[in-house]
Symmetry: C3
Subunit: 213 residues, 3 copies
């Protein structure tokens, strides 16, 4: 129940960040709705397609698709507010990430998948919406460069499963995961924690180009 | 029957526009066939994957894949003709859009999907082929900027379903939808009807980038 | 058995080329693992999704995903070696291509698909990993420009199926296909064999842009 409410808050916030990205590419209303929806529910869609988990959530519950389309269109009116109060979106996005992670993990667990696949499902749910947004808008995907993001989804899902494994009741496990994951993500932003970055000079490019055509 | 003929005309025309896009990127024959096929049958493929509707149409009927590959290769010979008589392609593309929309709508209806999902299926079928083409060829997707396109697919599917709902016979419903949708699309091109565009200055970019990493 | 070993060699080599591409984009460790895995097992994933062949190979056998993630991370340590001994990767990549092609072909054959779909399955398995890598890293896909690559996968799959059709035992068919396909790919690189390229001047662009919006 709490998860459902937080899920709706999460997809709304994600849809709005998607709409802003569409606006920077001067897209029309259809493009705005498309990018908003891909950002908000694309991660869960990719997860379900990979797992063969049909019907997709937004096809069984089209109201979620309506919410993301409307949130996208609403953003075209209130963009200045969204940009101005972007700190609220940082918070909503962090909350959404943990909620997506828990929900993605549960889908895979309910299918009886092994632990590693449950972790992958959590990360895909949390991260691939933003990836799709950046692919459609032709930006280098932010999640592959910036502060801990996929890692937070990974850790949150691991924490959630570990608690269930050790007999913690579901509600408490969800609560602990939400609070811990949320604080971890905010700390990662605040202190600019990031994974090590792998850099290759383009000058090293030449010999490699022949290697893999 | 008529729909099948129009479908073949539609995928042939779409495959040719895909091949032209591949030619502008100096792709080889394999690339030409890939982009041609993605443009022509990619929309239906994405729709079927989202709906979990297997087998995919072109896997059950590989002749459609052969047609798009051959149409793509043929375009490498007759490109000057295609460019010269591009107005014919505007017309074929408009026809194809409505045919794709009706067929996509019918697939979802046969699965017993709710109305909103049938509309989404119609739009995905009509629009995602061009989206895939532009992603592979690394162009900003045209359908997200230009005259009414997705909207025409949406309206055509709505008109088709409304007629069936009110007891109009299938053949008449198809005919009315084809003519109306086709004229609507041509009118949109002629009079440059478009959806409102959402523009954000890149200067508004900075604060937002932090919000969603 | 031999195929399984070669498959593991193949995905390891592909994961390393994917990691190098990620390094040129200055991605973090998560990005490196994502691109490495997409390059190595993305082709089989796309094939299985198109065929509706569930569960996906790496979900049923998560150890393959672990291998590609670890190979990707390892590349961040030994990148200079990988770049220096790139000729070894040319060879491993050529081997991987034929192995992927045979395995992709077999999946479709086991599903009872017609010959043309088996050929498509082989090409998709061999080629789409590299395509996904180049899409995520925003490069124009190399496989659509360079020496025979998809064509080699196509020919290898055709040769394999032809042998089975004429009663050659499976092991011999695999051996003959591996050797022939491998030499064909190396010859294509050595002598720069390529498919004809389709070029259109951008000046021919203007009239066409109206044709397909």
């Amino acid at each position: 129940m709490l998860l459902t409410i937080l899920y709706i808050v999460g997809i709304t916030a994600e849809a709005m960040t998607g709409a802003l990205a569409a606006g920077k590419r001067h897209m029309d209303w259809f493009g705005v709705m498309l990018v908003a929806s891909a950002t908000a529910i694309g991660g869960g869609t990719v997860r379900d397609i990979l797992l063969g988990h049909y019907p997709l959530n937004w096809i069984a519950n089209p109201q979620y698709l309506l919410i993301t389309c409307l949130a996208g269109l609403a953003t075209t009116w209130i963009a200045p507010l969204v940009v101005r109060f972007h700190k609220i979106f940082v918070i909503l996005d962090a909350l959404g990430l943990i909620v997506f992670s828990i929900l993605g993990c549960r889908v895979a667990m309910n299918m009886g998948q092994p632990v590693i696949i449950c972790l992958v499902a959590a990360v895909v749910t949390g991260v691939f919406g933003g990836l799709l947004r950046d692919l459609i808008c032709r930006r280098t995907p932010l999640v592959l460069h910036k502060e801990l993001y996929a890692s937070v989804a990974f850790i949150a899902a691991g924490l959630y499963m570990a608690q269930l494994h050790f007999g913690v009741s579901e509600n408490i496990a969800i609560g602990v995961t939400l609070v811990t994951g949320f604080l971890l993500r905010l700390a990662a932003i605040r202190f600019s924690w990031q994974l090590p970055v792998f850099r290759i000079d383009e000058s090293a490019d030449k010999p490699k180009e022949e290697a893999k055509s």
